[in-house]
């Protein structure tokens, strides 16, 4: 007999969005996850944000899994997260990590909350009586909280805790607590856990005004706030409850608001010579929202150095902020803020557009505070005994942003890689989960398998009879809670209720036994359980039901305490009980008319199709193939490698794409699991998750092949953009950066002979006509080429004419390095583009220098143009073949720009790399890894269970008007031309009900949310007075 393998367990340290994403992906893959966070709650920075750029909306819930929805959270993720495979440990620090190579012993310090959430009934009387008031850190000290408090207002459960530093141990809270949930002497606990892999997602410390001396000349008043504090000032659950933004000092509406960028970042003096990457977009978003909230009379100004709008859609956002919302951008770093006697904040600045000084008063100044990464990295390096790189950051493997160097099984994601936006946090979280999965599959650990209990046939008798089980929650509710006798009696009188039982703690083992007994004896055919957190043990309870011979969909759980309490401040026992009775009746009705649900199972063809044989495509293919997944790798050219792998020898950050690609090509051709198809394109793909069929067309032979596969990853790249500007094409002295790079590498261009070189950035880019986006890599390319010239010929003068230098994150160091090397950066504006004239065969560049405010003439031996990155023209054909869409800029359009960056709306189709948007090589590799992981989650098994709650077609009623197909936001419905009927793809359908409403005669219906059920629920809501009257 084979020894039982241990279940693969991963510690994800840090429960911000990247950690949560990594945890969900691992949990969906069947691994057990420990998700810890040093702070009191999960959610990280995003817990504070109501709006995220670039869409200015939330939508965090969209990161939840699309298939098998019922296993994860089923509500707002800012409330909390439930997943059966994830154990969440907030307020927990990692104090030691021992072991190596897949066997880690982790010591966890679980800090005492002093309030036991398992016992607390969340009535909050303790908060009322607590005499201690301290600044509330969630609102950045802009409001006060008590020593006993709820850390995040929207968390469910509330998870109260006591701030030990603030608590005076007066004991008032203990006196009023009816459930003995408070123990003022509770101690921190230390626990050791064994895990196989660790993903660090802790994020990094942020710059703050208390600690850093360079903040002192700005933070002169409470009206100078950090950008995160400003988020709380805008939030509905924040300082001003979502209303008009005011000055914290005196509550006057803030009419003039200024943002100061790069607070704490891009500062060589303070040894922080890096960019924090997200602050520019953050400030733009905040300025737009401030205007939206406060009206057009609110004046918003951002003081910046370079407006770094390098991500997908960022440039459009900037243009919209400026052109449509009137956000002012001024390229000037102000030296300080002066507090005037009337409380206003004076700033003096130099406006390079008018070449004048201005002194202006502001009501509010927001400091765009950046990252302080080194402490956090040092802490982790010490704990993990991992190396730091020369910058002082955790060293990662050469080509990876994720894998910690020399430490198999240890990974980082999210803002530990440098502050990331939501999209990158998502990609990195998935990629980290992917790398961890990759690692775990080599260890021979097991995954958690769902307990397979056959679903009994439904008890669908003519008349439904409901058994109600009410959980007392371990007497949590206490004496002044629900009157169970009254509630039972009331419910028993309700039509359709066969019996009412009161159970002690349904979540515990005893409760399970009791439930089992009830189900064994009952004459009823449906069970409704009233308990506290319905999502926590839903699956467990459903398994109990199945064992007892009940169809699991005939068992429902409702949040007894939540609904009973909702909207009441100081309810009496009677209030609680009556409200509970009223509320539960509509749940009874809903259950009475609920049909048995059946989860569809999709067979999975465990083969992947990867489109695009560049480095990203090869990475995705290899990642899947090494995990045993057969891969078809399709490349339209005659050879693998793509643009980077064939054209680019070196990148500025020390990578060698060509060498890497040739190494990968060998691995690809050696790998038995990978079949390479060259010279061909996918012409048409049909099917659904698990069973796609693609038609490959070989252009040379004009032949077709058909491939069958279960998922698709599109990793089509891009290439250097074309231009006719600045005399390109008229002289061999005007060339592109790629041409220069190649020329120097091949020796065709001798940098030694150059005296003056001029480079122009953003050629045809970041403008409405042309590439309306930043290509993200050109600044680095230009700097790399310029440095190369300087290396060969230190006497050469190199001028780089730029609009904004986009050396975001730790790329900033190369910008600094370039200037140190004497490369001269000169700014030009889009309105005043450089002019190029050819004089005696040499280009002469004329432009307006915004620093000296003079026309400058630069005669050059060579003019080098950064022409950006163009998407592959094959993208359109690809989009047509797969039924996906392109953005205006002809990149592939992902499902959701923030929360689902590497997925398409259609489940089973993924994208990565430059197909998404231009990005540096390491980011391409990260996305490719992430896409591979998404595909692997489904391809690792022979079948995938979809959800039971799903839209169905009642064919006999259906008139085939196809309105449901048109209205479905997921493309889950289609018309089967052969069978002449409407079909629903159970993997795509998210049960939103759009089709059910659009369909006039209920031929389309969401099972479990039928009109019959909902109308019965409405009845129950409106008839309650009638029925309750006799009870009172």
């Amino acid at each position: 007999m084979a020894e039982k393998k241990p279940t693969g367990t991963v510690l994800v340290a840090g429960a911000g969005i990247s950690g949560i994403k990594a945890a969900i992906e691992l949990a969906e893959g069947g691994y057990k996850v420990l998700l810890t966070d040093a702070s009191t709650q999960i959610g990280g920075i995003l817990a504070k944000l109501d709006y995220q750029f670039p869409t200015d909306h939330c939508g965090m819930c969209r990161m939840l899994p699309m298939v098998g929805r019922e296993y994860g959270s089923q509500y707002c993720m800012r409330k909390s997260l439930f997943h059966e495979n994830i154990e969440i440990l907030p307020f927990t620090e990692i104090t030691s990590v021992q072991g190596d190579g897949g066997n880690y012993k982790v010591e966890l310090l679980k800090k005492a909350r002093l309030v036991d959430p398992a016992v607390c009934n969340e009535m909050g009387e303790c908060i009322d009586v607590c005499p201690v008031e301290v600044p509330d850190e969630f609102n950045h000290g802009l409001t006060k909280r008590k020593a006993i408090y709820q850390a995040i207002p929207h968390n469910t459960p509330k998870m109260l805790l006591i701030d030990r530093e603030a608590c005076t141990k007066c004991g008032e809270c203990v006196k009023v607590c009816t459930t003995n949930a408070i123990n003022l002497d509770a101690q921190d606990e230390v626990e050791t856990r064994e895990v196989h892999s660790i993903v660090l997602a802790s994020g990094v410390k942020l710059y703050n005004t208390r600690e850093f001396e360079d903040a002192k000349s700005y933070a002169v008043s409470p009206d100078v706030v950090t950008s995160l504090a400003f988020e709380r000032m805008m939030s509905s659950s924040g300082t001003y409850e979502g209303g008009v933004i005011k000055r914290p000092s005196d509550g006057k509406p803030a009419k003039n608001i200024a943002w100061i960028q790069c607070m704490g970042s891009r500062n060589r003096r303070q040894k922080r010579d890096y960019c924090s990457s997200i602050c520019c977009m953050f400030a733009l978003k905040e300025a737009v929202l401030a205007k939206e909230k406060g009206g057009p009379e609110v004046d918003t100004t951002i003081f910046y150095m370079d407006m770094r709008t390098f991500g997908k859609g960022f440039q459009q956002y900037r243009d919209k902020a400026v052109d449509e919302h009137g956000v002012k951008l001024i390229r000037c770093r102000v030296q300080g803020v002066m507090l005037k006697p009337d409380g206003s904040l004076e700033m003096r600045y130099f406006d390079p557009e008018t070449n004048e000084f201005f002194v202006k008063d502001y009501d509010l100044v927001v400091m765009s505070t950046g990252q302080i990464p080194f402490e956090t990295h040092k802490k982790w390096a010490d704990l993990l005994n991992a190396p730091l790189d020369e910058r002082g950051l955790l060293a990662t493997e050469q080509y990876s942003k994720i894998k910690i160097a020399g430490k198999p099984g240890l990974f980082i994601c999210g803002s530990l890689m440098g502050l990331t936006d939501v999209s990158e946090a998502m990609s990195s979280g998935i990629a980290a989960a992917g790398e961890a999965t990759n690692f775990l599959t080599t260890l021979g650990v097991d995954i958690l398998k769902e307990e397979e209990i056959a679903e009994p046939t439904a008890h669908e008798r003519e008349n439904s009879l409901v058994s109600v089980a009410l959980c007392k929650c371990g007497e949590k509710v206490g004496a002044d809670g629900i009157d169970y006798e009254l509630l039972s009696a009331e419910l028993l009188r309700y039509r359709g209720v066969g019996e009412v039982n009161v159970i002690d703690s349904i979540c515990k083992a005893e409760g399970e036994t009791t439930t089992n007994d009830i189900l064994g004896k009952t004459k009823c055919n449906r069970l409704l359980v009233g308990a506290c957190q319905p999502f926590m043990y839903r699956r467990k309870l459903k398994n109990v039901a199945r064992k007892a011979g009940f169809n699991s969909s005939m068992v429902e759980i409702f949040d007894l305490f939540g609904i009973a309490r909702r909207g009441m401040v100081e309810p009496s026992v009677g209030d609680w009980t009556l409200r509970a009775a009223r509320e539960v009746k509509s749940d009874i009705e809903r259950l009475k008319y609920k049909p048995a649900l059946h989860v569809s199972t999709l067979p999975i063809n465990q083969t992947a199709l990867v489109v695009g044989g560049g480095i990203g495509g090869m990475q995705a293919a290899l990642s899947l193939a090494t995990r045993g997944v057969p891969v078809h790798l399709v490349e339209k050219e005659a050879h693998l490698g793509g643009y980077l792998g064939n054209q680019v020898e070196h990148t500025i950050d020390g990578l060698a794409p060509v060498a890497m690609a040739s190494d990968m090509k060998l691995k690809v051709f050696e790998n038995k699991n990978i079949t390479v198809h060259l010279n061909c394109e996918v012409e048409k793909t049909v099917g659904t998750l698990g069973s796609f069929e693609s038609k490959l067309h070989f252009k040379d032979t004009n032949e077709n092949t058909y491939l069958h596969h279960g998922a698709v990853i599109m990793v089509t790249g891009g290439h250097e953009g074309a231009t006719t500007e600045y005399g390109y094409g008229t002289s061999d002295k005007v060339l592109t950066q790629a041409e220069l790079k190649k020329g120097m590498a091949s020796g065709n261009i001798d940098a030694g002979g150059l005296e003056n070189v001029v480079m122009i950035q953003c050629v045809g880019s970041r403008q409405k006509e042309g590439r309306h986006y930043c290509s993200r890599i050109c600044c680095m390319w230009a700097i790399a080429n310029a440095l190369k010239i300087k290396e060969v010929n230190p006497e050469a003068r190199v001028f780089i004419l730029y609009r904004d230098v986009m050396t975001y994150g730790f790329f900033e160091q190369y910008y600094t390095k370039a200037r140190t090397a004497g490369i001269i950066f000169m700014n030009y504006s889009l309105e005043n583009k450089p002019q190029v004239e050819m004089v005696e065969g040499n280009p002469v560049v004329k432009f307006m220098d915004t620093v000296l405010n003079t026309e400058i003439e630069l005669p050059a031996d060579m003019l080098v143009l950064s022409t950006g990155v163009d998407p592959e023209e094959s993208n359109q054909r690809l989009a047509d073949a797969f039924g996906v869409t392109l953005t205006e800029d002809r990149f592939l359009a992902e499902a959701d720009s923030k929360w689902r960056p590497i997925e398409f709306q259609k489940v089973g189709l993924y994208l990565a790399g430059t197909a998404h948007s231009p990005m540096p090589l390491k980011s391409v590799i990260m996305q490719a890894e992430a896409a591979a992981q998404k595909a692997y989650t489904y391809l690792s098994g022979r079948e995938v269970h979809t959800a039971g709650v799903i839209s169905k077609v009642k064919d006999a009623l259906c008139i085939r008007c196809q309105r449901c197909i048109n209205i479905c936001p997921y493309g889950a419905r289609s018309y089967d031309e052969v069978e002449k009927c409407i079909v629903v793809d159970p993997a795509e359908c998210q049960a939103c009900g759009a089709c059910a409403v659009e369909c006039q005669n209920n031929a389309a219906e969401v099972t479990g949310w039928s009109d019959k059920q909902l109308m019965a629920a409405i009845d129950a809501k409106l008839m309650d007075d009638l029925l309750m009257s006799t009870a009172e």
Binding site: D50, T55, D56, H57, C58, G59, C61, R62, Q74, Y75, C76, R78, K79, E122, G124, Q150, P153, H154, N155, T156, K158, S235, S236, S237, E241, G242, G562, R565, R566, G567, M568, V569, R579, R582, S586, I967, P969, Y970, Q990, A991, C992, G993, A994, A996, V997, E998, V1006, W1009, D1011, L1014, M1015, A1017, I1018, D1019, K1021, L1022, M1023, D1024, D1025
Partner: protein, 142 residues
């Protein structure tokens, strides 16, 4: 009239407005018990029949709560809801059930305070308006 307690059937989307209702609850913001909340997965799931049913069964008001434009978990369900509400309003106002009794509001998950405001405001409005014109039509139900 002062003791008239309007009945408001409130269809709240699972992701945003229902969460806001929870938040209002946990933030100890009391809102009138007049709201009879029915959780739906999406405001776009609210069938016009539900609204008609509620009014015909004696509701004094109907409130649909959904995510703000752009926030919808299901991408665009709230936009579809908005068109349906416009349609129903055009229809119902002829019979004395105007916009003041039938509300669609965007309430985000963090807007517990707005939920309270809307609930308060609607309750006050309906108290002023008095019972639904269908109040005495019980015998014609449905």
């Amino acid at each position: 009239m002062s003791d008239f307690e309007p009945k408001i059937v409130a269809f709240f989307c699972n992701w945003c407005t229902f969460t806001a209702a929870d938040l209002a609850g946990t933030s100890r913001l009391s809102y009138p018990p007049n709201l009879k909340i029915i959780r739906v997965m999406c405001s776009g799931m609210v069938d016009p029949k539900f609204v008609l049913k509620a009014f015909l069964n004696g509701a004094d008001g109907v409130l649909i709560g959904g995510c703000w434009p752009g926030d919808c978990h299901y991408i665009n369900g709230n936009f579809k809801a908005r068109r349906r509400v416009a349609l129903l309003t055009e229809l119902l106002k002829q019979y004395g059930i105007g916009e003041e009794r039938f509300w669609l509001r965007w309430i985000a998950a963090s807007e517990g305070n707005m939920l309270k405001e809307v609930a308060d405001e609607m309750t006050v409005k309906l108290k002023q308006l008095g019972p639904s014109p269908l109040q005495n039509m019980g015998q014609m139900v449905g």
